[in-house]
């Protein structure tokens, strides 16, 4: 009995140490995350129930008291790993001395065909590629693609099409939500320069918009396997994508004007303290992003039928695209108005 008790305590401590590692090291975090997803997935689909062998193992542990050594050994190993890890990070000059990476220059001149927005798009691609934080966001936005699996597989949600519309919007909107909501904070480190350079605000905003449109398009192509769940579902994803391009993107850019949190580009956000760049204003601006697609779909769905819901949701996006010059002008005014405040907020940290 005591052995069993000791084993459980050792395992609990081990989990605690794993938590430490997860929070310090993103590789470990993603490894754990992927493992978790795989096992949960297999559990749900009855492919392989990991809980059974684990249950058996615990039972075995209970019946063979001497096996308490195993969890104790695990605990000791984790402890020594963590100890070394923390000790290594203890000296200031290691933390301060920068790792200088050699650049492998990428030729992006083929992007010049995008005209006046080309210089910015080229820059943004480099921004994402060469900095830790945006890269991380990029990865997160990829995970959004699997959002549908959570909803389409549950029978409960089949009765709640508004929620399905919401989920469908998320599938193609990952990049838009994660990257887009932090425009223009991505450029906070050199915002003063952008503001004193010969740049029309509109071109700057347009380039970000193209980037988001491209991301939505790409996610839409990648989402084609969802046809498996039926054409209704895929129609929803398509309508959601249009909504994202034509309306959500503008809402996001508009929200960015009110977001004045500087970002340190080359510093990774910790897995559990990903709060940098988030504030109540963001949340408030975020609400219509979630509620609009649900409402746009649900009201015509209730009044007429399913297809009407799809059409209205898709049309809202098309309208946004048609009137985009007007919308850009409005957003530009908001950005222009907040210019001094934004500059002041960004230079505080730099």
């Amino acid at each position: 009995m005591i052995c069993w008790f000791l084993s459980v305590i050792a395992i609990t401590f081990s989990i605690n140490f794993i938590n430490f590692l997860v929070n310090k090291n993103n590789t470990v975090f993603y490894a754990v995350l992927v493992l978790l997803f795989v096992f949960i997935g297999m559990e749900i689909y009855d492919i392989y129930k990991i809980s059974e062998p684990i249950g058996a193992a615990f039972y075995y542990l209970y019946n063979h008291p001497y096996l308490v050594l195993l969890p104790l050994l695990l605990l000791a190993t984790l402890y020594s790993i963590l100890f070394k890890y923390i000790k290594n990070g203890f000296y200031l000059d290691d933390a301060v001395s920068k790792k200088i990476k050699e650049v492998n220059a990428t030729d992006l001149s083929w992007m010049n065909r995008f005209g006046s927005v080309a210089p910015f798009i080229k820059n943004d691609v480099k921004l994402i590629w060469r900095n830790a934080r945006p890269k991380q966001v990029m990865f997160m936005s990829f995970i959004f693609l699997f959002y549908g699996l959570m909803f389409y597989t549950q029978d409960v949600y089949k009765q709640m099409p508004a929620l399905l519309a919401f989920a469908s919007m998320f599938i193609t909107g990952g990049f838009l939500m994660t990257f887009g909501q932090l425009v223009p904070s991505w450029d906070s480190e050199y915002y003063k320069m952008l503001m004193s350079q010969n740049i029309p605000y509109k071109t700057y905003l347009e380039s970000k918009w193209y980037l988001m449109v491209f991301a939505v398009g790409l996610s839409f192509i990648l989402s084609t396997p969802y046809i498996y769940f039926g054409w209704d579902i895929f129609g929803m994803i398509a309508a959601g994508a249009l909504f994202n391009i034509g309306l959500n993107s503008f809402l996001t850019l508009f929200g960015g004007a009110l977001n004045r949190v500087p970002i340190e580009l080359n510093v990774k956000a910790k897995a559990f303290s990903n709060t940098n760049g988030f504030n109540p204003t963001q949340l408030l601006i975020g609400l219509p992003k979630f509620l609009l697609p649900m409402g746009l779909f649900y009201i015509p769905y209730k009044l007429i039928n399913f297809n009407a819901g799809l059409i209205v949701l898709a049309l809202s996006g098309v309208l946004g695209i048609v009137f985009r010059n007007y919308i850009f002008k409005k957003i530009e005014e908001v950005y222009q108005k907040g210019k001094y405040k934004t500059i002041a907020a960004y230079s505080e940290k730099n």
């Binding site: 080309a118 820059n123 480190e189 050199y190 350079q197 230079s347």
Partner: protein
């Protein structure tokens, strides 16, 4: 070229800058000196419309800087490292600025080739991001980027700080050249009295936000400035 009238900037109730009238003609090399907090950077920030004036205005070539953006095409500046894009190499940064200012790659290359001396082989083809360069080399890149696209007004805040002596001497030559032969209006600020008197035709001393001296540079200027600032040290 640049007319400042009734300009003031207050933070809460503290006045950090108050210039009644200051006229900088085209092609002048203009130096701004003063101790920390005298208002040099504030003035330059107002000139670039990075902060809002409390009263008054600045006209740059007839354009009111806080109302229109039309001054941007002919004005360029390097204030601090926040004017650099850290994740680009120096070349990429120059080409990016070039694109913003309507210069193609070969225009930029042509300009850069004139500054091989100034770069001293420490900037180009280094395969390093700007954020990984030393402060001095970052400054060199920033200054040269400010020269791209034939600007008529160039604003440099503390251009001599962090540079090694050889580079300082080369920079002085570059600035003189711009004002004398190309008719560019150059505005610089500095703590270094010797450098400013070497380079600028005209020197304005700021003290607590006010213009206290406005001198046309002559052989006596350095002495006068030194007397002024050592006088302040005794008070």
């Amino acid at each position: 070229m640049i007319t400042t009238s009734n300009l003031s900037k207050k933070y809460n109730d503290t006045t950090v800058l108050n210039i009644e009238n200051l006229e900088i003609p085209k092609g002048q090399s203009f130096g701004l000196v003063g101790n920390n907090g005298a208002g040099k950077t504030t003035y330059f920030s107002l000139l670039l419309d990075l902060i809002q004036p409390t009263t008054g205005h600045i006209e740059n070539n007839g354009v009111l800087v806080h109302e229109s953006e039309d001054w941007k095409p002919f004005t360029s500046s390097f204030i601090d490292e926040s004017f650099l894009i850290g994740y680009l190499t120096a070349e990429e940064y120059f080409y990016f600025i070039g694109e913003l200012r309507g210069q193609n790659k070969s225009d930029v290359d042509g300009l850069l080739s004139q500054f091989a001396d100034f770069f001293h082989d420490e900037i180009l083809n280094k395969k390093k991001y700007l954020r990984d360069l030393s402060k001095g080399n970052q400054k060199k890149a920033g200054i040269v980027a400010a020269l791209i696209g034939n600007p008529e007004v160039i604003i440099l805040d503390e251009p001599f700080a962090n540079l090694d002596p050889t580079t300082q001497i080369r920079l002085k030559q570059i600035i003189k050249d711009l004002a004398e032969t190309k008719g560019v209006t150059v505005l610089i600020s500095s703590h270094d009295l010797l450098h400013v008197t070497d380079v600028c035709e005209r020197i304005v001393v700021l003290e607590k936000g006010e213009v206290v001296k406005d001198l046309a540079t002559s052989t006596a200027t350095l002495k006068e400035l030194e007397a002024h600032f050592s006088g302040m040290a005794e008070v």
